[in-house]
Amino acid sequence: MSAVLKLLAGRLAISLLVLAGVSMLIFAIARVIPGDPARIALGPNATPEQVEKLRQELRLDQPIWLQYGHFLSDLSRGELGTSLYTNRPVTRDIAQFLPATLELILAAGILMICIGLPLGIVAAKNEGGFIDNLVRVVSLLGVSAPSFVWAVILMILFAFFLPLFPIAGRIGTQFDVPQITGFLFVDCLLTGKLDALADALWHVALPAFALALSGIGQAARLTRANMVETYRRPHIEMARSYGFPEWRIARKYAFRPSLIPSLTIIGLDFAAMLGNAFLVEAIFAWPGLSRYGVAVILRKDLNAIVGTVLIISAAFLIANLIVDLLIALINPRIRHGRDRS
């Protein structure tokens, strides 16, 4: 187990290094703004004195490395400054909007794995056959449209044409679930409101599927490719030569080894979902980070932009750490170190 811990510590260190890099990058991007953020925030009617005062508050009058130093010391205290858009601490804004987004992404991730992997396995087992080609076309279609297009198409088909799912929102207005964690599913469970949970799941289905479609395509294609590749390896033939049942070979000898490279890509798809969630949320009026993120970007709300991007990147890095951990748990080579060649 210690090899896994060592590996994880290494990855964590690199992730922190990368996150520091991200903060520098996004900080640099936010400071090359051509316009004056203070003036934009205050509007055209502000006096020069007011603008100057805000510039000082934002430390825009200081050299950029000093600004970055202040930013880091704020960050170490868990502060990301105040949003000019909402006039509230950025951390509070993010805490309010992030759970809905994460919930949507989590639902999409589950759909991606539960649909994408089986599709890939079925395609690999029918390599070159009709089902294989069908899965290929479907998964290529899945990755060929941005998720807002899928959101629109799914909405027209399954909310308007066939009114099976709700058009927008996170939960019906008739439900009153007290906020405990901010995660609606968890709150429903904690308060024992199972009908509310069912309604929330019903609401998340369509947006999550729209968000998951490209990931489903990716996961299916990749799983297929890895399975096909694994099926050509000698250990499969050896297993067959011992007469093990075909389904057992598929599970223990083909799927497990081919899962390892698939997991890495699932991590990357997760990153794409963090961005694409913005698109889906806009269509389904999902009360997540999207509206806030776009609003702060359009208003050049420095602190909020830096804070939002940093949190999203951190979420991505954490997802990748989890993927690394899972791979280490599946692959004994990593778990037990490379004792030999």
């Binding site: 250990h235 050896m238 011992y242 007469g243 093990f244 004994p332 080579r333 004792d339």
Partner: protein
Amino acid sequence: MTDNILDIQDLRLSFRSHGGVTEVLHGVSLSVAPEERVALVGESGSGKSVTARAVLGLLQSQRSAQITGRILFEGRDLASLSGANRRKLRGTKMSMIFQDPVSSLNPLFRIEDQFREVLRRSERSADMRRTREVAGKLLRDVSIDDPERVLASFPFQLSGGMNQRVMIAMALVNEPSLLIADEPGTALDVTVQDQTLKLMRKLADDRRAAVFFISHNLGVVREFSNRLYVIYQGRIVESGPTGSIFDDPRHPYTKALLAAVPRITRAGIPEIEESPEAFSAPCEIHETAGVAA
């Protein structure tokens, strides 16, 4: 003839692909008697490996493969058996030792898990204790002194030679009557290869198992097999007792192969002459005296 372990009669095999149908075996006949060690020798692409896979019944389930002719295993025609019944023979009555020991074992499971999987082919309820007992004894037989450590290892933690011995031990778990060996040890260096062959010969003798040995190397075969078949482009070109073929090779291809066996007394490795026309001469059969063939 029926008391042979293995009887192959006029086996023809072709594969369908986009470009049409390619026949790779054009009527191969051979037999292996109980406790006999028979070698099938030929260059790569000659059809020797697919012959072994057809015997195991691995090709019969492939949609692209077309098989005609008869393969009799212990008197039963494999083609008359259902897929499930063919599968029942594999790993129990016959088992195969592969060329590349490291990549032929499942990379994600410990050796003991893989032994248990094999043991369960004959003993449904075998648990890990029973597995360790059986496997430990077999591993000692293949001269592994510390079976406990090997059993607890993953394939990548063991050397190639070690993996090869594990694979031989694994093939013997269910006491098969026929052991098929596909160029065992070619992926390893020469001294290890030599050791493995000696081990395999001794173990097969002890267990009275017949061995069907596939190789491209006549030098290796000479010490190992009682009888041999030379295969060239999907046809058997010469067959007979090993000694007799080595003393008096008759077919041009066999002569060329023999000339290609490196000898320490001569300098360098002679090249095989490119004379495909001569190689397609009819099959030469050495009459066997005494051996029940």
